[in-house]
């Protein structure tokens, strides 16, 4: 039983973090390209 609880909360913690990292990574890439142009 507890395994479901554990997996669920891992998902709850990891997913927003994953999205945050994804956004940050994409932003770094764009800012690198901006810097290259300027």
């Amino acid at each position: 039983m507890p395994i479901y609880l554990l997996v669920a909360y891992i998902i709850f913690c990891v997913t927003p973090l994953g999205l945050a990292f994804s956004i940050a990574a994409r932003r770094r890439k764009v800012e690198r390209e901006i810097a290259a142009l300027e």
Binding site: M1, Y9, T15, A20, I23, E33, L37, E38
Partner: protein, 229 residues
């Protein structure tokens, strides 16, 4: 720019803090539920993410209306960013809902109202994102997405009623209603919702900033092209 990133930093720190507090409350403050046991604790974050998922839809709706009214890109950026974050939240809702269903009802999926409405919202979000990726011109993309976001949002309450009434016809329905909520449970639920809402706003602002950077890059590129040709 500096002031903006101060707000962002505060938001990030605050959301992480409240998230951790909520996590603590879920595991140590909220009482053990009598019938379902420990697994019931999924409920708090699951409901919180469902609420925020729907809220994201609402923000996309507002962004769409704003864009059609003003033709200002900021509204469109808001709509799109909220859709992306909202989609992630609804996906979480769906998956954790299934993880709750299995120990609670013995099956990963069932046509229980909240699971079903999450699935419907998920499909609407995905359709929205697919629409954005497939329109032939950027200006049209914003307009079409706004229209679809509005239509989609309007059908969600209708879906909710239809699904609930549909399920009440069948007596063997598995209902997630009627779970007695002790005061501590209510506290935990509220803090969880607050935590997820803050995280949503933090992610939303970051996503908007990304989109603004992209626009800046596109403008720079155009400027470059014009200058060199």
């Amino acid at each position: 720019m500096r002031r903006k990133s101060l707000v962002d930093s505060i938001l990030i720190v605050l959301s992480v803090a409240v998230f951790l507090v909520a996590l603590g409350m879920v595991f140590f403050y909220a009482p053990r539920e009598a019938t379902m046991g420990e697994v019931q604790r999924i409920f708090y974050f699951h409901v919180a993410s469902a609420w925020v998922g729907f809220f994201g839809f609402f923000v996309t709706f507002v962004g769409g209306v704003g864009y059609l009214a003003t033709h200002n890109c900021r509204w469109d950026i808001l709509a799109f960013s909220s859709a992306e974050v909202g989609l992630v939240y609804i996906s979480m809702t769906l998956v954790t809902g299934m993880l709750w269903a299995k120990p609670a009802w013995g099956t990963y999926w069932t046509w229980e109202p909240r699971l079903t409405i999450s699935a419907v919202q998920w499909l609407l979000y995905v359709a929205y994102v697919m629409l954005r990726g497939s329109v032939l011109s950027p200006e049209r993309e914003a307009r079409f997405a706004a229209v679809y976001g509005i239509a989609a949002f309007v059908t969600v309450p209708l879906s909710w009623f239809a699904i609930r009434w549909w399920r009440t016809i069948h007596p063997q329905v598995i209902s997630s209603e009627g779970m007695a909520l002790a005061p501590r449970m209510i506290h935990t639920l509220f803090v969880s919702i607050a935590a997820f809402t803050l995280v949503y706003f933090a992610l939303l602002r970051q996503r908007i900033a990304l989109e603004q950077s992209r626009d800046h890059l596109a403008a720079l590129r155009l400027h470059d092209e014009a200058a060199t040709s």
